[in-house]
């Protein structure tokens, strides 16, 4: 484990940015934080987390797949790939780090999504342990410990110092480059920090939320639960929850006619939208109830069924904070799962 004084953190950033684009949470005018590319003068945010998740770096909202150039009646296929830049994402919370495991299961199993894969290869994640979880946090429900974030390098922050621990080869390599700015240390300070976090975790309002009622094999039991109608009754059908979610991975492939050709690109889709997975015969999820159910069944039942029991929610709480009508996975789990915590 290595540490560095927070006074020198900008030197660390500068060192990292020498070799790769460095992205880190930065405060915006509106009070929220967003990942921004670091450059001299960029100030690292103290916010718990960003509105958009770091999923964007590996699975951007829009991504060109290829292009066709059309001249008269001739068509030429063109390569538009651009995902070869090395980059580092700094300050990723434990929940968001976990989301990459989930995305990996989707994109890196055969057939491998080479766009995602290539971005994963070029990216290094420096995670950061939480110090002040929010009431909307429920990562623990999914077995995530915010004091033990994974990633290529794990980091802990105290009032004055920051501690780094490399977990992977890529991480080791990067940490070595920072050796001039950091010094070796023991893990006592970090352990003290961990204890503090654990104590707060026990005070979180959603600490009792359980996944017992969900998981693979529950489809028949939960699919026709009468509660879906009530839960979905006020859903606006917007895509906010899916677009701020670190694990939502659905996309649509579309063609854009440029006038001289076509750009084929993919963009995030949302199961909340009425034209999601619309096919020639129409849409197989006819009303908002079915679309709403799809999202939660996918996260809590279908995904674990196909992925060794792994839920595709990390409890980051973004959808709790951002849903225009405050309907979210926690309310669904409590209602459908029947385990009212209070």
């Amino acid at each position: 484990m290595r540490k560095c004084s927070l006074d020198k953190i900008n030197l660390v950033f500068a060192e990292i940015a020498k070799n790769a684009a460095l992205y880190l949470p930065v405060d915006q005018n509106d009070g929220s934080a967003a990942y921004k590319k670091w450059e001299e003068g960029t100030v690292w945010s103290n916010a718990l987390n960003t509105v958009r998740s770091p999923k964007d770096f590996f699975f951007p909202q829009t991504e060109d797949l290829m292009a066709f150039k059309v001249e008269g009646k001739n068509i030429e296929v063109m390569d538009t790939r651009s995902e070869s830049e090395d980059f580092v994402v700094f300050g990723v919370r434990a929940c968001d780090v976990k989301s990459f495991d989930i995305l990996d299961r989707v994109f890196l199993t055969e057939p491998v999504d080479s766009f995602y894969g290539s971005r994963r290869q070029h990216g290094i994640i420096i995670s950061l342990a939480c110090t002040r979880p929010s009431e909307t946090c429920f990562c623990k429900t999914f077995g995530i410990d915010p004091s033990e974030p994974a990633g290529d390098i794990s980091a802990w922050k105290t009032e004055t110092e920051i501690f780094f621990l490399a977990n992977t080869e890529k991480g080791e390599e990067l940490l070595n480059k920072l050796s001039a700015l950091t010094e070796e240390c023991d893990d006592s300070a970090v352990n003290a920090q961990k204890e503090k976090i654990t104590a707060i975790m026990d005070k979180l309002p959603l600490k009792e939320l359980k996944t017992d009622a969900f998981g693979g094999g529950k489809t028949n039991e939960l699919f026709d639960a009468p509660e879906w109608a009530e839960l979905s009754q006020s859903c606006l059908g917007c895509g906010t929850c899916t677009f701020v979610c670190p694990t939502c991975q659905c996309y649509d492939i579309k063609d854009f006619n440029t006038g001289n050709g076509v750009i084929r690109y993919r963009c995030w889709d949302s199961c909340m939208y009425s034209d999601f997975t619309k096919m020639a015969h129409g849409n197989n999820r006819l009303t908002q109830k079915e679309r709403f159910r799809q999202r939660f069944m996918h996260k809590l039942v279908y995904f674990p069924e196909n992925n060794d029991g792994e839920f595709s929610c990390v409890g980051c709480g973004r959808c709790l904070a951002k849903c225009p009508i405050s309907m979210n996975i926690v309310k669904v789990m409590k209602k459908i799962g029947g385990n009212k915590s209070e």
Binding site: Q28, N29, D30, G31, S32, A34, L48, V51, R52, Q61, T62, R132, P133, S134, E135, T136, I200, K203, L204, P205, L206, E230, Q233, S234, L236, G237, C238, G239, T240, T242, F243, V244, D252, K254, F256, Y265, C267, W268, D269, S270, Y273, S274, D275, L320, K322, P324, I325, S326, M327, N328, V330, K331, K334
Partner: protein
């Protein structure tokens, strides 16, 4: 803090359910925390007593829900409308979007709603409870022992600071006092932007709109956006797009959306409230409202049912598009 209480509203709802005036109630249902209320239908006293809430976080504009809910509900729906909701209510009636006969509207006074983001700005994250004590709210967090006492004005939502009217313009029954239309300063921010140079304005909007993730929350929450199919969802419209692929599409979506609701937007502020990226979308709508007020005379969408919006109206003496700028340049 709200003057009308949860109990008063429940009593009203229970009475109307009991005498058969209505068969269900559209209200706010309590959430996990003290601020995350969700619109819900209540069918009986039991449900109301268990889950109905009314507090400073009941900002959702119910009017739009009536479009779908009146189609589904057999009898009449009781809906509680805050003054700003009543304007949307009227506007939807003007556009024949639901059957007035299927709704029993109770106008309720509103003291302005709180913005949870502002609460968090002051008290920090990790809110464990919010209690309403008289004129104040007591916010307890995971990190402080003593609750922080907040006055309503400290955390008032932007749209409520610039409230245009405390008057319910549509109702079957009014609870509390009838308020007044307010001389608000809602165009100040628009004016601030207008006073900037075009380059500054461009930079401002470029920065704001670049955050758009096209989640469509603004559109889906907007009571004026009640198209059966939005042009941006319709593959045959030629402008369909699902993502803000670049800065053009960000602008296209928001310009066209603002244009489509121009003259119909009541300035309820839902668009900005629901935006997960905090884009001040209301400043686009307000620009249209301000312009149309200036060009064609004061017009408040939804002030009365059946009124003719400026863009579906004209006079032979209207100013020319070019004069819009001449006017402003001479003013400057």
């Amino acid at each position: 803090m709200q003057k009308i209480t949860r109990e008063q509203l429940i009593d009203k709802a229970v009475a109307l359910l009991a005498d058969g005036t209505v068969s269900c109630v559209l209200g706010w249902s309590k959430g996990e925390f003290d601020y995350d209320v969700t619109p819900a239908m209540f069918n009986n006293e039991e449900e109301l007593k268990a889950n109905f809430v009314f507090n400073d976080f009941c900002g959702v504009n119910f009017s739009k829900y009536l479009v779908a809910k009146t189609q589904k509900c057999e009898g009449k729906i009781l809906v509680f409308l805050k003054p700003c909701d009543t304007y949307s209510f009227n506007q939807l009636l003007t556009e024949h979007r639901f059957d007035r006969e299927k709704v029993y509207a109770v106008g309720i006074p509103c003291e302005g709603m709180a913005d949870i983001a502002k609460v968090k700005e002051i008290c920090g994250d990790g809110i464990s409870s919010i209690a309403f004590e008289g004129e104040k709210m007591a916010v307890t967090t995971l990190y402080e022992d003593a609750p922080v006492m907040l006055a309503a004005n400290d955390v008032l939502a932007e749209r409520c600071i610039n409230c245009k009217s405390k008057k319910c313009v549509a109702f079957d029954e009014l609870m509390g006092d009838e308020g007044n239309v307010i001389d608000s300063n809602r165009f100040d921010e628009v004016e601030k932007l207008e006073a900037m140079t075009p380059d500054e304005r461009f930079a401002f909007w470029q920065n704001e709109l670049s955050r758009c993730i096209r989640c469509n929350a603004c559109r889906d929450a907007c009571p004026a956006c009640t198209c059966e199919k939005c042009v941006f969802d319709n593959p045959n419209s030629g402008v369909e797009n699902k993502s803000p692929a670049n800065s053009f599409e960000e602008k296209m979506f928001h310009i066209i959306r603002a244009f489509h609701v121009a003259g119909r937007c009541t300035d309820c502020g839902e668009c900005s409230r629901v935006c997960p990226q905090n884009i001040p979308l209301h400043l686009l709508n307000r620009k249209f409202i301000k312009d149309m007020n200036e060009f064609y005379g004061e017009y408040q969408a939804g002030a009365e049912v059946g009124s003719r919006a400026p863009l579906v109206n004209y006079t032979t003496e209207d100013l020319e598009p070019g004069e819009v700028f001449d006017r402003r340049d001479t003013d400057a």
